[in-house]
């Protein structure tokens, strides 16, 4: 590779970070990094002042949480980079710019190799067996990249994490995992070579050469790619693609009535993605997927004659988080229809100023709380089902604590629905904070419960009281703030 070639690749690799700097303040990224590193840093400081007997354990926990945080940040950077590279892989450029496709491929492979090396050299050397870490990193990073172009891989990944892994590891090391470990010990280099070859081929295939079908695949991949590349402010931001059937039916019904409230019509005008009909549809699909997974686990347990039911409480945890995640992404969803909002606010009868600000916050809160409560009910039902199969299972599996901690942390996230929407910045690293917040607060609740013995109920009540106080303060503040719509028009 000559100098011109390597500097071109360096420019391609730098472009996602330039895009971030151009669209976002550096503070957003700093806040996310600080949040991720807060736990390991806190544990490390604690180990310095704690009793000598506790220090090694605290240092180990700091190392573990630090490794997790570092890997999480590396994955976030990887997704941002791949999202940006896929955006650069536009059909016209692929056809017309000499060497563009080849350089994009090289850049992707170089970044992949650097990511794998970082994980092997970091957690790999800290926890041992760097080759295994490298192999897992190579496969994981390639799969994450591929899932940006082929979204169906998200579903398969979800099933792998929440069904396959717990099924293999439930009841400790089973014969299956032992077989896999033995295979790895026997042919580690061969497995690594296969993973490296397959990963490189998959990554090279992600960058298209042009031709038939590229535009469709580009459009399909773009919305996901944009999400991670953080370019919601550019032409990347698309409105909702098509109305769901329940949304269309409700729209027709409301318009035919003639006396539908302004509130109901305004909510329809904000598009299907923030409408309750779509949320119900999304929830039903999610329940269907989880129900299918339950059936698979129960069926597999019966077929293998083994007790795999301990997986079920973990599924209830994923139900709880999955049901509320779309509501936590309200900012990005509302931002998609900001141009439509310019027409909506000109319509006779539409509220403006404080009335609109409070209406929007209230509507988003109702949608969020309803989603969270639905998640609670479904998770509770699943736990009840697990208990009928095996009494005491939920407690033994460890899933109960995770579910309780998330439950305590979830409802207070209603504060994210009470933002100053006119100044809401969407193309920002902080955009991911609402999605991460239940896990961060839930993690804190879990630690407080396990290490300090604080009960979940009082913790939940305190969190909720603080959240309600914040919402009440925002209600008052919204009286003097600019009209919420169009969202983000005053963002700097």
């Amino acid at each position: 590779m000559n100098h011109a070639e390597s500097s071109a690749i360096a420019r391609i690799l730098a472009s996602p970070f330039q895009q971030r700097i151009n669209q976002d303040s550096v503070w957003g990224a700093i806040v996310v990094i600080v949040l991720c590193l807060a736990a390991p840093a806190g544990l490390l400081v604690w180990s310095l002042v704690a009793e000598a007997s506790l220090a090694p354990e605290l240092r180990y926990r700091a190392a573990v949480s630090g490794a997790i945080a570092a890997v999480a940040l590396l994955i976030a950077a990887w997704m941002m980079l791949v999202g940006n590279l896929l955006q650069q892989n536009q059909p016209a450029m692929a056809r017309l710019v000499p060497g563009h496709v080849a350089r994009l491929r090289t850049a992707l492979l170089v970044a992949w190799a650097l990511g794998v090396l970082a994980i092997a050299a970091g957690p790999g050397f800290v926890f041992g067996d760097p080759l295994a870490w490298a192999c897992a990193a190579a496969a994981g990073l390639a799969l994450l990249a591929a899932s940006l172009r082929w979204p169906v891989l998200w579903v398969l990944g979800f099933m792998f994490v929440f069904v396959v892994v717990p099924t293999l590891t439930w009841e400790g090391p089973t014969s299956t995992t032992e077989i896999l470990q033995a295979q790895w010990r026997h042919a580690a280099r061969l497995v690594t070579a296969i993973v490296a070859t397959a990963g490189a081929a998959a990554l090279a295939a992600l960058v298209s050469e042009g031709g038939r079908g590229l535009q469709a695949s580009h459009d399909a991949g773009r919305s996901l790619g944009c999400r991670f590349a953080g370019s919601a402010r550019t032409g990347c931001a698309q409105g909702p693609r098509a109305a769901s059937r329940p949304y269309s039916a409700w729209l027709t019904r409301q318009l035919a009535r003639g006396d539908a409230s302004v509130s109901s019509r305004l909510l329809l005008g904000l598009g299907p993605s923030v409408h309750w009909t779509m949320r119900i549809r999304h929830g039903l699909i999610f329940v269907g997927v989880c129900g299918g997974m339950c059936a698979v686990v129960v069926g597999l347990a019966a077929f293998l004659g083994r007790d795999l039911h301990g997986v079920l409480p973990w599924l209830s945890f994923s139900l709880l988080t999955g049901a509320s995640t779309p509501a936590l992404q309200a900012a990005a969803q509302l931002y998609k229809t900001r141009r439509e909002q310019a027409l909506l606010v000109l319509l006779p009868g539409m509220p403006r100023g404080a009335r609109l600000n409070r209406w929007l916050a209230w509507q988003m809160s109702v949608l969020f709380v309803a989603s969270a409560l639905a998640g609670f009910v479904l998770a509770g039902a699943l736990d009840l089902f697990a208990e009928t199969l095996d009494k005491g299972l939920v407690q033994r599996s460890g899933g109960a604590d995770m579910t309780a901690a998330i439950a305590v942390a979830l409802l207070p996230q209603v504060v994210f629905q009470w933002r100053a929407w006119a100044r809401q910045r969407v193309a920002s690293a902080l955009e991911f904070v609402p999605t991460l917040a239940p896990f961060l607060l839930g993690g804190a609740a879990l630690m407080l419960h396990l290490w300090a013995g604080v009960a979940y109920l009082p913790m939940g009540l305190v969190f909720m009281a603080l959240a309600l106080a914040y919402c009440a303060w925002r209600w008052w503040r919204m009286g003097g703030e600019p009209t919420a719509m169009p969202i983000g028009r005053l963002a700097r």
Partner: protein, 290 residues
């Protein structure tokens, strides 16, 4: 609550809009006379869209004041909103709806709705009613956006580059619709465009936006009749302008000068040293938005 009727469609006073250190609008004063078609001209990035959005109350001014039918733009009452039609620059809006659903949705808000006009334009402009807006071509989306804005017979129609995606036939049809709108309804129309020939066909007035201000707002015919392009040696041209009390608008280095007289009668004939030709709208655009 209804407010007292005011027939001045739009007024801006000392309007300033800044993005950081950049002043896009810089103390702009402008008043739109009722029943006129005003073409808003400006270079790319001059702030036409920002001006339109600020006038309509879609963007807060950093300072200054804008009003629509006598009401502050940021707090326009329902009766005034029912008198406004707006076609934004991008027409790929409400893509998840069909054309019929979009029109039914907007119809539900307006106290009056001209169904005959909507049906006529939908069939004349050949827009599929049951197709999602996403499935329409850019030109059809733009036509639908125009129909939506005309459907409630607005008294003030604001169009932000409305003909960018239209073919010549559709543009001609759209312009004749605008003329009908003015004749039938006495609608005040503001539209920004870069296609000067379209503007010459329908605009009664023309306003040039430059340096964050309206550099000139004048009746188009009057402006064209009273503006000239002067050619010759610079010293001769300057003497000619001074002697005939013309107003110099601009001069390119070593090129012709664009100047304006009080009216058509004030334009003197050419001399052996200075040529006098009628200025075109393009000459005026280049001179006034430099």
């Amino acid at each position: 609550m209804s407010s007292p009727r005011n027939d001045t469609p739009c007024v801006a006073q000392g309007l300033r809009v800044s993005f950081g250190a950049q002043h896009v609008l810089d103390g702009l004063d402008w008043s739109l006379p009722a029943g006129r078609v005003v073409g808003l001209l400006g270079r790319n990035g001059a702030g036409k869209t920002t001006l339109i959005e600020t006038l309509l109350g879609l963007r807060e001014p950093t300072s200054g004041h804008a009003s629509l039918f006598g009401q502050p733009s940021m707090a326009v009452a329902d009766d005034a909103r029912a008198r406004i039609g707006y076609v934004p620059q991008r027409s790929d809006l409400f893509e998840w709806l069909t054309a019929d659903q979009l029109l039914a949705y907007f119809r539900s808000f307006y106290p009056r709705w001209n169904t005959a006009k909507v049906d006529g334009l939908m069939s004349r402009w050949d827009i599929a009613r049951d197709k999602t807006i996403r499935g329409l071509s850019h030109g059809q989306q733009q036509r639908l956006s125009i129909i939506r804005a005309l459907a409630h017979d607005p008294e003030l129609l604001v169009l932000d580059e409305p003909v960018a995606s239209l073919d010549p036939a559709a543009r001609r049809d759209f312009l004749s619709e605008l003329v009908d709108q003015v004749i039938d309804q006495r609608t005040t129309i503001v539209f920004s465009t870069h296609i000067l020939s379209d503007l010459e066909r329908v605009a009664l007035d023309v306003a040039f936006l430059s340096g964050g201000r309206i550099a000139l707002h004048a009746p188009l015919d009057e402006l064209l009749e009273s503006s000239v392009r002067l050619g010759g040696v610079p010293a001769d041209i300057e003497r000619f302008v001074r002697d005939h009390r013309l107003q110099a608008i601009s001069r390119e280095a070593g090129g012709p000068m664009i100047a304006r007289g009080r009216d058509a009668e004030a334009i003197p004939p050419a001399t052996p040293t200075v040529s006098v030709d009628r200025a075109t709208l393009e000459d005026l655009f280049l001179a006034l938005t430099a």
